[in-house]
């Protein structure tokens, strides 16, 4: 009923290949953007900004970066957190060496550092694939975290070995650091995430994206039809690491405010990988759905007992939380192994048919 496509005729190839073949999709997106840009900022509390909205966006962005590499180009990576760290440390060095630098510019540039590192660690992908490549990216993970710990220049020789974000202003408004307003930070993150998502959608639908998908589905066949494997794989590593690096810089500067090297260790890599897998490999929407499930849901569950007035000790809530999220992940993967994005696609198809299935 809501998704009825009756009366929407496609009379040209351009219309058939449009981003939104069904008009309701465009409305849905407009509605979500309206929520994100207008409704949430007007209604959300500071806790909601800092614990729900901002982290979901940043994790979704990191998963989007990984999804380009793993979901679109088929190169398994376990080094996401380390590449996030490269972005964060690059941004930290830039903002401390050039104190007046525009933060948006610094974040944009820091992505290039992680892209360069990503390409360097992507070189083995030309010779090895699958699990063997995963091991090579795991090496990046261990090496880079070790480097963040040992190379004192990176954290400006702080005694604690941690990096701390100072108050950074942009056009007279504090956007990062302890004095920054949550709503300002939210809009900053939302703006960056929307921009990157827009590019990601277009790049994956175009020539480069098709090249990646061909390599993912069968690299020998792709090579035979004339795709340069080296170019395809390394460009996937570069674009993916660039996005992941930006996500890392946002992670520390717009959300955490401080970071120790151990933050970028393997649990973070796995967390991002889970978001990408549960959301759906090879989709853009999936990253957001996955981030909502993995990042936001535990926070919501942990606030429930207090909101309902149930006297459950907080340690017990944590245990319950782990169990509930674990059960949900297994349930979703059994219902739809291709992830939440595919789940939504099935629902959407059914809605288009409803109430008259053939």
């Amino acid at each position: 009923m809501l998704y009825r496509t009756a009366g929407q005729f496609k009379t040209s190839y351009v219309a058939d290949h449009a981003l939104f073949p069904v008009r309701q999709d465009a409305w849905l997106l407009a509605f979500i953007l309206l929520l994100a840009f207008v409704v949430f900022p007007m209604t959300a509390s500071e806790f909601a900004f800092r614990a729900l909205l901002i982290p979901v966006l940043i994790y979704a962005l990191a998963a989007l970066g990984l999804n380009i590499l793993t979901g679109y180009a088929g190169q398994l990576s376990l080094g996401t957190a380390a590449f996030m760290g490269v972005g964060a440390y690059a941004c930290y060095k830039m903002t401390t060496v050039f104190p007046g630098m525009n933060l948006l510019l610094a974040i944009g540039l820091s992505g290039f550092f992680s892209a360069a590192v990503g390409v360097a660690f992507g070189l083995p992908s030309l010779r090895i694939k699958g699990f063997y490549l995963a091991i090579a990216t795991l090496a990046a993970q261990f090496f880079l975290v070790w480097l963040f710990e040992k190379w004192a220049w990176l954290y400006n020789y702080n005694a604690s070995g941690a990096i701390q974000v100072t108050n950074i202003q942009m056009f007279g408004i504090t956007v990062a650091g302890p004095q920054a307003n949550a709503i300002v930070q939210y809009y900053f993150v939302l703006g960056v995430v929307c921009l990157v998502t827009f590019f990601a959608i277009n790049i994956t639908r175009g020539r480069i994206g098709r090249m990646w998908k061909a390599v993912r589905d069968m690299d020998i066949a792709a090579e035979l039809v004339g795709i340069n494997l080296m170019k395809a794989k390394l460009s996937a590593f570069a674009v993916s690491s660039y996005i992941v690096g930006i996500a890392g810089a946002l992670f520390v500067f717009l959300w955490r405010g401080a970071a120790e090297p151990v933050l970028f260790d393997i649990p973070l890599s796995f967390r991002v990988l889970f978001i990408a897998i549960i959301g759906g490999l090879g989709s853009i929407l999936g990253n957001y759905l996955g981030a909502i499930l993995i990042v936001a849901l535990p926070v919501i569950i942990s606030t429930l007992p207090a909101a309902l007035g149930l006297p459950i000790p907080s340690a017990m809530v944590e245990h319950l939380n782990t169990m509930i999220i674990g059960a949900l992940i297994i349930a979703f993967l059994i219902i739809e192994p291709h992830g939440l994005a595919r789940f939504w696609a099935i629902i959407r198809e059914k809605l288009i048919m409803w109430p008259f299935p053939h």
């Binding site: 800092r50 005694a159 405010g257 120790e260 340690a315």
Partner: protein
Amino acid sequence: MKTLSRLGLLSAAVAMGALAGLPALAEDSVNVTNLSYRTGPFAATGTPVMNGQRDYMLMLNERDGGVNGVKIVYDECETGYNTEKGAECYEKTKGSSIVTQPWSTGITLQVLPKSNVDKIPILAPGYGFSPMAEGKTFTWAFNPPTTYWDGASMILQNIADGNLDSLKGKKIVLLHLDAPFGKEPIPLMQAYAEKHGFTLLPIPVGLKEMQNQSAQWLQIRRERPDFVVMWGWGAMNAGALTEAAKTKFPMDKFVGIWWSGSDADLKTVGDAGKGYRSISWSFPVSDSKVMQDIKTHVIDKGKSLSAPGEFDYVFYQRGVVISMFAVEAIKAAQAHFDTKVVTPEQLRWGFENLKLDDAYLAEIGFTGMVPPFSTSCANHAGHSGGWMLQWDGAKFVKSSDLLKADEAMIEPLAIAEAKKYAEANAPWPTNEECKM
């Protein structure tokens, strides 16, 4: 339609009731939330401290009906020692709690810059960033009764028998957790090493290597140090103690910071741990008045979460002492501002004006459990000093008189570090009213 409107009315009435009910509750209670960690890799050492903190608050509510008639609401927000969860808990509780107890150096580092903005005092007893003691710079942070740097200074004095020059030519290994907490004593100990001519060799233990420290202890065996000083926490303590026992390292040459002196860790090595020392700013006195009151009002009534036997532990009773700091600050603020329910700003004044001398400690039943100290607007730690405790195979006993840190050595370094922090985080508001 009718049922719908009735439902609406009902829910509105419930909402009104809830709204009306809340302020009545809040009027005569203060909320003290603890960012606890009863889960995760550090739960074994964290839980006794949390239990002690909780039980003291429960005891006051039971025995006196709170503090001067104001009930204490002791809440916990579980962090699992995870910095991300800690920051989330901070955001969740900052509206209700009058004090932040971050409970990890990582979380402290996250919360510290926000304390100036949100204006909630941080209570980090015996942990966090050592220069936080400089009250003029760190207006909102408190680390009574003593700092990590004080601890390092006291340990060195004790192993040198009071004469640091006797350490000349000796070799001291600092076995530390490779995290901000473990790196905390390095600058001070390096300064000491240069001044008194001993060699300092820091050996880091990564978070992943905590349980298996064979590589580190192989290095220690090769280096043959005169002393090993440990800055460990959680699973790292038990790991180090078992390795030391296995490699037959002489326990009387092995000294830990106060977080490395957990009864539970030493019970695992038992007799083999005999002679191990740990500096401490608290000491368990199970027959003191306050502990007996906790026993009658909380434990015997079955309200405590503590395990059997935990009552006599150093860590459990340290938790009691920590809660006492918060309560004394509330009392001081109540008296000074002539109010019942203190605000975070008033509590900050209370923390700055703690006066815990021997007579007062005896009055509240804490004789011998914590050294006397007082804080001021310039001195947020109090620098109480501490005792060296020694494991006798079954429990910790005092093996020294009250040790005092060498403030002449520490203060210039702390002031310089505080200044560096303030400059790096500019604009950083300092306490200009403090003229001390």
